[in-house]
Amino acid sequence: MSAASTAEPAFVAKTKTGRITDFVDSRVGGSGILREFGRKVFPDHWSFMFGEVALYSFVILLLSGTFLTFFFDPSMAETHYDGGYVPLKGVEMSVAYSSSLNISFDIRGGLFMRQVHHWAALLFVASVAVHMLRVFFTGAFRRPREMNWVVGCVLLILAMAAGFTGYSLPDDLLSGNGLRIIDGVIKSIPVIGTYISFFLFGGEFPGTAIISRLYMLHILLVPALILLMIVMHLFMVVVHKHTQYPGPGRNDNNVVGYPLGPVYAAKAGGFFFIVFGVIALMAAFFTINPIWNYGPYDPSPVSAGTQPDWYIGFVDGALRLMPGNPYGWHVEQVWFGHVFTFNVLLPALVPAGILFTVMFTYPWIERWITKDDREHHVLDRPRNAPTRTAIGVAGFVWYSVMWAAAGSDLIATHFHVSLNDVTYWLRALFFIGPVIGFIVAKRVALALQRKDREIALHGRETGRIVRLPHGEFIEVHAPLDEYKRYKLVGFESPQVLPAVPNEHGVVTRKEKRRAFLSRWFFEDRVAPATPAELEAAHGHGHEAVEAAHGHGHEAVEAAEGSKSLTH
């Protein structure tokens, strides 16, 4: 140690800032961190912003939520309203509802903060969902990022939990009916449902405990878990480094983009303020959850056109779609003296269960089918993985049908159609929709791949029409430069992996099943264009040029060839 200090004299800072920085650095070792991260490279793409939106909405939720806790009182004790909103003066209500009204009408900026909080919550869940769609469709969940995908799935569930627990807090009529539905769903659970309901509500519905219990979950437990998951999520992003879209100069061994400092940090940091600003604009001009219109919770009234917040919609829609007595058969059954409420249990648990199970396990499902266990850092363009894209679209359509069903009554009233017909159509789409979605998405993806081939081999359309000497019109195509072309041809196109015998020389049934799925996954494929094909295509091109000059019967022949340029 002494040898080192004599060899290298201790650093002495010259400025005041330098001395403070040096003080901290020499005690926590910030230099090493800065050296590691200061110039870390981040790829840039607009679709990478969804995750950022989610993160920033969460920060805004913490800020606005903390403000609200200073004024909100989660008590369900009865009180008579005596605040600034005249129509409700003297009305009997819970303290929770009364304090929510006070935040809206008697605290300066309180309504604004409530609106910011609610809009940020809606945006939070939405951005998490869209971010996950981006990750799915680009194959970013593949090795080594499977665990981070799972963390993301957990975050989606937590985001919905945070939203729902918060949604119920004002104890207004709308959210109270939401809780009533939750109570009904819980009671349908076999064996323990009634007990869970009594334990959750502290007795019979609605009781006097639920709001303060949800409040604790909403401001402590759920946000703490979300924070923990976000830390894990970002830690893994650092470990893995970010994925990148395919393109010239990008491969699985490098990461191409902008250094964290200054460009990426500035863009990402500035983007926080933009997200905040947009949420502020929404809060300024679009009313969200006007609880004063609904009145306090009362088990008797309900307003027509009740809607949950958007992210709960798909479960509510599934509840609506389930027929209770199809063809006179009672879905609710009494077996051995006990009630099996399948008309509630099935729609509440099965679709959400299937969606989340497939979501959580998808990286492993695809890895098993494709036997692809390599590390992937270059993303797939969705068109270059047609079957995966089709699966994603099928799931998305399925979700959307259920989601639309949550607004079946509004669809009926807005479009002046029969409510029953809307439900019948959506019931049919519940089954057919994903199939159509799968087929259409796969065909579109393959068509786009073929278009890419066309452009890579024959160039882009210039819009320039040339008339040939014999009267035919052709459109001149301009060849791509090699960078643009590489983006269209530089992708992997995996092929069907037939069943392989195991070490005993036996093809197991599981392996046969895998091979079947592999065929289903990869049998329709468009191979990327090769240099040889490009050479051949250029041959046509030259002929076309000659043809344009016109040389006897050669021109006729060439015109045949030049058709490839004319469509």
Partner: protein, 356 residues
């Protein structure tokens, strides 16, 4: 589309040529050459961008001022009107939005126009090195060896047993989150008290309803007599006891055996709590005699004892037996003959015990 012979689509529209991957692939041309921006070459453009960034930051300052002025200038007072609230909300929002968007767009513009936009490439490193893995395995082996847990199964097994049981109190301690359900869900306030039958009263003011008040086609939202006077658990009782009262032509009602006396002169009362998941079945379609739940659109037909004719509910709405007392007021002759509201595991046994 064109009909090409260059190895592209066959008739199925796709290519499935074996051995395609062995064909030589395009070489990666590398990162495209950097293209200079206007601000890189023209000092005037750079200066202009600089001024734009400063202007955006200035807009942010204006936004902050708008917020502060609004906060202190708009007085909510005691009786703040919706218009005042709306104005305050809009101005606070605009102020915040300008303050934030000014900073955000300013920084992003600065980064995009003036900071270097050279793309750089960095090598990825292996996530795990074989050397590390071996070292880690050795360390774990040493740790396990030093604890001696493999050599002393008694310690291991008793520890596993203890750890497996230890969380049980943590579960048990939540036992007082709520009371036992018992048969609370099977009974409502409508049961006659000390031989006195409860009158049907209007929701929410609690005034009793005379049979003569109920004209054909009308509907009443009903709560039991005495509900409003309850000191505790008012909402709990209300959540079970609310009833819809309707009168229609007695000829259109088709009471089943044993239920002939449950109505009075075409007046019938049904539980308002949906048998699906418990929303109030609040919509009465007078012309069709249908009751519709606005939450999930379960539809019940009044002329068929509220049988489910559409939607996710599976059971009819329970009927409340009613009659008229000496003074002409409607009363409930008994409680519901089955538990009201959504189904639950013990519901069937409750129904049997209520009727026995």
């Amino acid at each position: 589309m064109g009909n090409h012979s260059d190895g592209s689509p066959n008739h199925s529209g796709t290519v499935a040529t074996a051995g395609q991957n062995e064909v030589e692939r395009f070489q990666d041309p590398g990162i495209p050459p950097h293209r200079l921006r206007l601000a890189d070459t023209d000092p005037k453009a750079a200066k202009r961008a600089e001024r734009q960034v400063a202007l955006l930051f200035g807009i942010s300052v204006v936004g902050t001022l708008i917020f502060l002025v609004t906060y202190f200038a708009i007085d909510l007072g005691d009786d703040s009107s919706i218009a005042t609230i709306r104005l305050q909300n809009a101005l606070l929002g605009i102020g915040t939005a300008f303050a934030m968007l000014g900073i955000g767009t300013g920084i992003v513009h600065w980064a995009k126009a003036l900071m270097p936009d050279h793309e750089v490439s960095e090598e990825r490193h292996a996530i795990r090195y074989e050397e590390d893995r071996q070292a880690a395995v050795r360390i774990v082996d040493d740790i396990v060896e030093e604890t001696g847990i493999k050599r002393r199964p008694l310690i291991r097994n008793t520890l596993l047993g203890a750890v497996a049981l230890a969380p049980l109190p943590a579960i048990a301690i939540f036992g007082d989150l709520g009371p036992r359900p018992d048969d609370k869900l099977a009974h409502t306030m409508w049961a006659p008290q000390d031989g006195k039958r409860k009158r049907l009263t209007r929701d929410p003011d609690g005034t009793p309803i005379k049979a003569s008040d109920v004209t054909i086609g009308s509907a009443f939202h009903v709560i039991p007599e005495g509900l409003n006077e309850l000191q505790e658990g008012k909402l709990n009782e209300k959540a079970k006891a609310v009833v819809l009262l309707m009168r229609l032509d007695p000829a259109s009602l088709n009471p089943s055996k044993g239920r002939e006396e449950w109505g009075y002169n075409g007046i019938v009362a049904y539980s308002k709590i949906c048998t699906h998941v418990g929303c109030p079945v609040a919509l009465y379609e007078q012309q069709t005699h249908h009751l519709l739940c606005p939450c999930h659109q379960s539809t019940f037909d009044l002329t068929q004892e509220c049988k489910v004719i559409f939607g996710p509910a599976s059971r009819p709405l329970p009927q409340l037996p009613i009659a008229v007392d000496d003074e002409g007021y409607l009363v409930a002759t008994s409680d519901f003959h089955e538990p009201v509201g959504p189904s639950y595991w013990e519901r069937d046994s409750h129904e049997r015990s209520v009727n026995s």
